[in-house]
Amino acid sequence: MPLRPARRGRVGVIGAPVAKTAVVAAAVTPGRSPVARTAVVAAAVTPGRRRRI
């Protein structure tokens, strides 16, 4: 199905080829369960947590 004529000959807004974003599941390596990792991430973004610098 062709694109609408209004899309042809215009300057694009994306600019450059888009790289594939890593899938979240790929970051979950064997070892600890995904559920445990979810809890860890949740804890990291919990209000009141302070950074250690």
Binding site: L3, V11, A19, V24, A26, A43
Partner: protein, 154 residues
Amino acid sequence: MSADTHETRDLDQLGPVDYLVVEFPSGASSFTGEMVEELLALVDSGTIRVIDVLILTKDAAGAVEAAELSDVAALGPLQAIETQLAELLAEDDVAHLAAAMEPGSSAGVLIWENLWAAPFASAARRSGGQLIANGRIPIQAIIASIQADDPAGS
């Protein structure tokens, strides 16, 4: 919010515009209407405004075909969104967006304005602020950070 309202909005009041490409590997898609419901909920609540939608398919040889939302046979509730689209994406955007797709997959491309962020962004500009950086923190980076802090995972 009506189309007229959007057209008369000052450019300074425009919220940040984002895009995403959601890929559906061959044979893995399972459309139940749930995505449409959630998208419409975001629109109806005034959280976002959908600016453009395209449906891309990439065949096994890597050839890409793009379809308009209006090409979908039974739009259903998406009809309300389709009439408001602005056709922001140009032809060469299709090739750029499809670069991330696997051969044999299909994908939905969504461009939207973050209406929720517009008042804050506008206030920042009126206060003399200039946006010098923004971005998204991947969950993977958060996991890596936490693990670096606590390798034992306690």
